[in-house]
Symmetry: D3
Subunit: 327 residues, 6 copies
């Protein structure tokens, strides 16, 4: 069992710890000025990652361990150029029974079961029976539903953690439900159906084990078209599903990125598609802001100044509440 | 008093009517094949416009009337190429006392006083006293407040009618208030302040009399920078107004178009600026959709097919509810 | 039976003809200077269209005929402002038995059966049995195969005629087969499969009756995604069809427009997808050139000068061979 | 007092010097191969910066000094990989009385008083009394005028030195005055007013102490809108200042970046705004060229070849005069 | 000899005039409501163009005259829809001896000989003998020099009149000479050489007879590359012309449009190329402004309001001096 | 004579070799932790490059050798961080007689003479005698023809090796000849002429000695305009060469990059120019794919996964044949 996490390094400065990690990077380097080799590693768990050095007696470790392995190590925590690192005295491959994979990949901070129940509750409340059976056909599909509860929403950017897809969808559904009454043109059930299914292709686009990545199908087809294919196949299994609804849901999936250059083959043409696309974009941007503010807070910044340049948003940001300070 | 409106032409097909109009277009043309001249006019009121022809005895009318005048006419309604027109028997300049300008320019279909009260009510509820006195300083300013209740929100596109600015702002405030609770980073009073003041420059950018137009200052400075100047001047009159709040409100005004190419000199950098910009854009697009669907319905289309290409949105649209039909 | 075609108008200048046409445009206009109404029409057949006027006795025609109808007319051909027109003496609705729809819509000048055989022959020669059965599953599908032989390739631009889809595909397949040997990275069967299936969605995107148009599904989903859906459904019916081939063919369909802004949700990432996309684009552009040169030749121009500005290519063109003249 | 400057390192190669510097970068590093730590620093003054290493006895220095501090050091100059560096024997915090800040930040090479006089002289010569009192209201404003003489024109790019704003403005005014007579549409006083005030917002956008940075207001509002606000406030203090002139000056400020994507909320619409924007852009580009040529010359290059790729101009450059050589 | 010009129509309202014109547009139309045909023409001279109608006895005119012909006409001037037109009583082909082509195409209002002398004078003053003989090799080339004095600078936009090329170049040379002293990096002789030769390709790109057009070579090669070719050929004739100067002049020609999307195959990389490109662009824009203001003044507008949208500049404009009014 | 090549390092792991190299990078570094200096080098030959270190006795080497020199070295091969390096015991400048430059720069793997013959054979087969003598005038020009057989086609991207220009052209000519028969509008001799001459400017744009670079003329003029100039000069030497052919060939050269933003001053307007531009782009992209797949194979990857992101194509790639595996 793992009882030291990277995020706690500050509490152990100067101490020797024993714990389990995943190896994110592994290389053998030559000591400068001669004098042999050493191991340079990056060790990770779900809370972050740590540079590690092993200067001596690493022959056996070198033979058995490598990138992606889980290892048990003993070493001393120290601070170097303002970052913690660990100098290893011992390292060996961990046995499967010793590690719980959930310790090593980031995960949503919300309860998956509760989120799942809340989401299903909204579908239960649909007055449109066709859309209700369509959405449940996905959620009740053992394979899809299971993956839906686990999948991250991205490899790196917003919601890049286990359960991130469900978390993103639930938050989006909530704002969709709040916004729909202001637009009489919008069919709320249809909108929520779009919100629940728009990113369903991510269960096949992404892979998640000890790290997050794109599947080959994800790279060649993309989650938009994967989702469209899944919709087509699912609809085939629903007797007498209205063709018009199939087209409208399919259109929401295809257009939800809102622009051609973001990989949507169609622009949003219906009220629901337009609203979904706008709110999905808003959710992603507000979440990106939240990440930046959280990162600054974690780094001990007060938030009273603007952040560094945020590449994904092409601007720096300002945390209003931190800037205004306590009232 | 005006008792015939353009929108009612169908009810008077073939009949002779007497009413008042504004002249939108006025020209003298030569009859084809020789035989003298005739008057070709476009007559307007707040419900639309109508082609008019005067074939005889228009010498006196020609001398006294012209573009922008209000006139009293008598003529016969008929249909030509699927559109109604009117053949004039008589036309003379209207006396000021005979016309009520509000009959001739389009106006919001909502009650201005009720909208105004609702808006003020939201401000009354602010917990931030500084923002409350700032917003009321604008609303209670006789000149600004009066113009705010009258101004259209645009010359041609969305909300191009008297009261359109207030209507647009109120709808935006409502969705802002509904969305804010979903984003804990957002200061709701600040957001609503931004929503109420973001377009305040339009009271000087636009002119509205018998038609809508841009003022010279509107064209050279633009409503964004006009609003910023108004904010600066208003803040000067408020003792001890916090500089930080001034900067945050000014930033929302400057960034609310969301992109440089739409004339915003700054991109939204705070949670409130980002949310305001996104919801303002959403409101405008949903309103544009509503206009298109309304136009199709007015033209007697069922809505079961996609609309014509909509230039401002660079795509055709589909009215979901009309397409799905009555449930 | 139709024995006068629009393209032959010059031979009948000043004569009275009797023939069948489709009505492309229909309106009632008032005679200038008063004196009642007349009918202004555009009459079409597969070879072009002709302005028509009916000055007298059109009451019964007006009641029974309209846009999209087939009519039998009698009238006199004349030339007005360098274009032929027809002054109608008589017009009545045509009976179904009197018209052969193929007289009224443009069609490929190649023999459909021969093209179909040539195309099937190439598939017969595939060494990859899986791709062979996939393609034949489409071609032998009665509904799809039938539509494939009829469909135009576009509403207006290149290959906008019956059989245009098949013609476009066949020409593309030929150049693909010629180019493949120069690129050892390319699997020729896979490339030809992509060429045959890339536009298959057009059989549902377009409608063709008396004119060409987009279906509602075509507008909301688009032929790229329709094709992808058709592929998914067809593959489901083929036992043990290799998943890898499905992904590769799907990728070619999704990426064949080559750029996001042209509606492709993926960029070409395989040698076959890249080659297909490049040659499809080349075919379309060379065909557009051919159309321009043909249009100029039809208008009696020598071709020794550059053409007018061609909007779809954003430049004028020069017909080299016409410019150089006979050798 | 500081008697060694970074730019003179070559004269002291191998010698031991004692001098004052600002610390631009400060870090503690571990010696490779073990054996303890050392200090890695970058030391700067107004003429440039120098890598420094302190291998021994830096405990007390480490405790008291850090980034942004002024220090007194003793060390030996040497050359490493073609660049000079310094190996420190001693380092301590400098007392305030020991340092003159102007030794540590780059400054204009021109005399500020002379530039100021020349600029005022041009205003004195205005025939338009309103513009004259407007500009002097800024220049004579103690706070603004003082900052105007000190401020850099940018954080990093062109004119990033103390007095850079004044220097940039003066050079721009000169070329404006030279160009105006060629364009009879241009009001020269108005043009020069625009040149003097266009960047006035930089006195609040930038901060300058031991280094240059952006203020929070600078980042959220930007120098264009800050300048507009300053103009509005200043005009309020001038009795009967003509509204038309206020609009024209405001327009020049708002449009001087020339394009929306460069942060101008308006495009130049008057002859003066167009000319100002073009010449401002020209000045910036010619100054960027000058910097590149100067950098190459400082690096000992002959200038007979093109420079490296210049990122800000997206191209490499060629110094014509160096290329042609002495005549 | 021509003694009535289109620009003087107002003075002849209602009168019958006899004069010569070029036919810009010629068509035979049918009278509405039957009753035969009439001629609809546009007649032009260097001061403008005029709609013309010939209702009777035009059989002989129709046989002999056509677009591009010079004709002698007699007719009555009248005003229709605020524009003058002429009703023709007689029209016949003009004999060559009767017309002076210079009456029919717009021409510079400056004296060509004086402009030519001024330009040559600047070259005479070059201190660089190589550049002097290069430029004179062009100006003294009988064919090139002659065309240079006649050519327009464009088909339609700025300086679209005979002598426009020379006029544009001379104005550009003047501002170049004024600006050069402010940039010590700039070789003034080289800059002026670039100004004189940059558009030399227009003498072959454009054709000018009774109207302005593009030559086939102009369309396929363009004036930039034509100029480059002319430079290469001319340099071949100059013994020992320095290769470095050839490259620098060639670079100015190739880069003077300043951007790839404006057809420049190279961006300006030398001080002279950058300055030339900036000032050439400025000249074109100021001239476009001047045209707009002139057009408004000609239409009797006061200039106190902004102009209509100017397509080539993507904005409306304001004539400052007219707006401010007489001082 | 060179008998060890970088590509063979694996076979010599741990052994001492003696061989010749070009020095690509040369620097003196200080040993970490003090203790003097060492030499850090990169040694190259046509098969690749190798990091080298010289720790001792390099004083004489340091004085005589430098970047760009050919050296003879003795040293021991070892592996460090998965890459081979060499620790030098001895190094001295090589004598001219000892090195064969062709050992040090990458070169085409095809036989230059055979390629040259094949190319000339195609020209021999032209039926157009004018084009034949034009192309031979280039190929038979001793200086141009010689350079043509040697030149690389680029500094870094596709075909960046000696003979690369000829190889690229030959492959392009082959696909041009295969494609031409499918487009009856295309004059095959003209197309092939364009293919052979389109990049001829590269013989002056690039320099190739011990490494590849751009000449100053290449940077200021570019290979497109250089080629155009060469064409002009060559045509001058051919009596009675048809002007029309000169324009058509010149147009192909100027437009072959296909877009303004790629440096083409003209868009392809003729069938030959369009086809040439499309096939040239295709060749470059397919070659870029080939390079990526080759690089992955060289790195021991199976090719069953997508490649890394390929910057020049803005996407990752998939090697279909490797992905599908052996049949």
């Amino acid at each position: 069992m793992k009882d030291f996490f990277v995020a706690d390094a500050a509490k152990f400065d100067g101490e020797t710890i024993t714990s389990f990690f995943a190896i994110s990077s592994f290389s053998v380097r030559e000591k400068k000025g001669g004098g042999g080799q050493y191991l340079a590693l990056v060790l990770s768990d779900k809370t972050g990652s740590l540079e590690a050095r092993m200067w001596e007696e690493f022959a056996s470790a070198m033979e058995t361990c490598g990138e992606g392995c889980f290892v048990k190590v003993q070493g001393q925590i120290s601070k170097y150029q303002n970052r913690f690192q660990i100098t290893l005295a011992r390292m060996r491959l961990a046995a499967d029974a010793e590690v719980d994979v959930s310790d090593f990949v980031p995960a949503t901070k919300y309860d998956v079961s509760e989120m799942w129940s809340e989401l299903r509750g909204y579908v239960d409340g649909f007055s449109n029976e066709d859309l209700k059976r369509l959405v449940f056909a996905f959620l009740d599909d053992e394979q899809i539903g299971g993956a839906y509860r686990e999948a991250p929403a991205a490899k790196m950017l917003h919601h890049a953690w286990l359960g991130g897809l469900l978390e993103h969808v639930l938050f989006l559904v909530r704002i969709c439900r709040a916004a729909a009454p202001f637009y009489p043109e919008v069919d709320a059930d249809l909108l929520v159906t779009g919100a629940i299914l728009h990113d369903i292709g991510k269960v096949k686009e992404l892979t998640w084990g000890t790290s997050f990545s794109y599947s080959l199908e994800g790279q060649l087809i993309g989650h938009i078209s994967i989702a469209q294919g899944m919709l087509r196949e699912k609809v085939k299994t629903l007797p007498d599903f209205p063709e018009k609804l199939r087209i409208l849901v399919e259109h929401m999936i295809l257009s939800h990125h809102g622009k051609y250059e973001f990989g949507s083959p169609k622009l949003p043409m219906t009220p629901e598609a337009l609203l979904l696309s706008a709110l999905d974009d808003l959710e992603a941007k507000m979440q990106a802001m939240r990440n930046e503010f959280g990162r600054d807070a974690a780094a001990g910044k007060s938030g009273a100044e603007v952040t560094e340049w945020v590449r994904s948003m092409e601007r720096p940001l300002l945390n209003t509440k931190a800037y205004l300070g306590p009232e």
